[in-house]
């Protein structure tokens, strides 16, 4: 199966990003709800990571995800994580943690768009007995560790990066983060520890969409100048337009010797689907209030994404 995969640059990163938005949109319409705004804000970042920035091997897991195989325990020797969708755990390859695990739908769509998971995988999303869970679990495709509680991803990445450096691995550790995580103290503990220990095989790209579960971050808890805070805590930090792939490439090329690199990708939670602006700031999870509203969004967003409206009647 792996040999039939498209090469990772068969599609342009722009095409992958558009494909992510289309898949998440289709899923949200069909299921009358979904993490749609996260696809709007993060599509370019995840497309960039999987399609060009990360050095990943071919998947070691089946294209159609196996059902839930039990949690880790001494009695479950066959347990595997979802890391195999990101390629084998070998020294030369990068590792990726999706810190905001509720971006799982967007991450799964990315796996499909980059030929790492079959489209059938998304049909299993949030179904009982499936490993393709709504909040990405350690055993979900593309997930390498549990990150469902926000703020723990960068710390785990820092520990892994320290260990990989000690082992002489060529591969880096990348953490995809969300901006709400800067409200957690642990994020800052992680940055200071990575800086203190000179961990520079670690980098993160953060989806700064200024949204969180309760709404706009500025209304929930203001976080100030996070670029300056990251720098003050010892990281290299660059701000970019998170929908500008060329800016992303330049930021990734930034030298950050002796410290981690944090790329702040400023994004719009309605990018590519401007009709969602009507719902601002209630964008964390898009659920339609009526069949009329569902139909209206279906028509409008399909047009915005250049596809036919989704047939969800069956």
């Amino acid at each position: 199966m792996a040999g039939d995969l498209p090469l990772r640059n068969d599609k342009s990163t722009e095409e992958v990003a558009l494909g992510i938005r289309r898949r998440v949109f289709e899923h949200t319409i069909r299921n009358n709800g979904g993490y749609l705004s996260q696809a709007c804000s993060a599509a370019e970042q995840l497309a960039f990571l999987y399609n060009e920035a990360l050095h990943l091997g071919e998947p070691t897991m089946p294209m159609i995800p196996p059902p839930f195989g039990g949690v880790p325990s001494a009695d479950n020797p066959g347990y595997v994580t979802g890391a195999g969708y990101n390629g084998p755990f070998e020294p030369q390859y990068d590792r990726l943690f999706i810190a905001p695990a509720h971006y799982a739908l967007v991450a799964y769509a990315t796996l499909i768009e980059t030929g790492r998971m079959a489209p059938e995988g998304l049909e299993m999303f949030n179904k009982d007995g499936s490993s393709v869970e709504m909040i990405g679990a350690e055993h979900s495709p593309g997930m390498e560790v549990h990150n469902g509680t926000l703020g723990i991803g960068l710390s785990t990445g820092a520990g892994l990066a320290w260990g990989r450096r000690r082992n002489g691995d060529a591969g880096d550790v990348c953490v995809f983060m969300s901006d709400g995580e800067v409200q957690e103290g642990q994020t800052w503990e992680a940055v200071q520890a990575a800086a203190h220990h000179g961990i520079d095989n670690l980098w993160a790209i953060m989806d700064v969409n200024r949204q969180q579960c309760d709404g706009a971050m500025d209304d929930v808890m203001r976080v100030g100048d996070i670029r300056q805070k990251f720098i003050d805590f010892g990281a290299a930090c660059i701000e970019i337009d998170g929908h500008d792939l060329e800016a992303m490439r330049q930021a990734k090329a930034e030298k950050h010797e002796g410290k981690p690199l944090i790329i702040l990708a400023y994004t719009s939670p309605t990018q590519g689907m401007p009709i969602l602006e009507r719902r601002f700031p209630r964008l964390h999870y898009v659920r339609f209030k009526s069949e009329d509203e569902r139909a209206e969004y279906n028509q409008a967003i399909a047009a915005e994404l250049g596809i036919a409206p989704i047939d969800y009647s069956h």
Partner: protein, 334 residues
Amino acid sequence: MVEMVTRPYASAFESYAVQHPEVLALSADLTSSVEIDGFRDRHPDQFLSMGMAEQNMLSFAGGLGLAGFRPFIHTFGVFLYRRPYDQLMASVAYPRRKVRLMGFLPGITTPGGMTHQAIEDISVMRTIPNMTVLETGDATEVEGIVEAADSIDGPVYCRVLRGSVPRLFDSPFRLGEIRVLSEGTDVLVITAGITTEEAIRARGALDKAGVSVRHLHLSTLKPFDAEAIVAHAASVTHGVITLENHLVAGGIGSMTAEALAEAGLGKKLIRLGLQDTYAHGGSRPYLMNYYGLDAIALVRGIERLMGIETGIDEGALEAVRVDAVHSSVKAEAL
């Protein structure tokens, strides 16, 4: 006199770690308090200072585990689970990382009061799936716990004694093995950690008073050998007393109660330890006496269980202390 060993953990950890380069020492600003300052100075490449940031430390250790290392996290027991409980669950316990949680100052062995006293650590740790829980009761066990902990395929929490520690046992720490310290027939006494020495103190006086005690010392608290506990309990006439440096809820008393109930063994059980209360700051002997964790508390518990008066007082316990501790070294080989 009982032999007192100075800083047994320091030398045991160093001699083990230097043989195992994938073992790392992590510390959160309590390096000398947990006896690894010498290791830090002599082996800086195997030491990571994590600062006062336990949440990051736990998740970071999970990442080190993913990279194939076996981090030993050294700090006070309370700091391993109260603040960073979420990280302990998600980054260490769930994925079964080989993280060794070395919890110093268990229970009331610190004058630091509520913030420093790990009085519910066993109850918390034993309910965490994938976690192993160990406790040291003397210098021999402290010396052996490093290798024992590192042999576990998954995370492990250890209650470690520091400073000047008595040597009660001459056989090494063996995972899962209950030490049978006496084989009496009237009552079963179950202890762990520092309460074992108290029970040994009481035993001499109890012998003289004609009370036949069966005494078990536990160093592996999880997995808990319920079958063995039930068999010992069934072999005594009057019932069971647990004595623990911990809240009676969730610790050895609870584990014993569960074992007896599940086996349908109708024996009386008295659980001695902290009775649904916080402790305050003070010396160890003062706190053990004040909260009823010491030898005299055990004697009174046995009197209550058996419905007798032994006539034993504090003076009698002091008088037998030296003999009793001496005999324990041999008694444990029974």
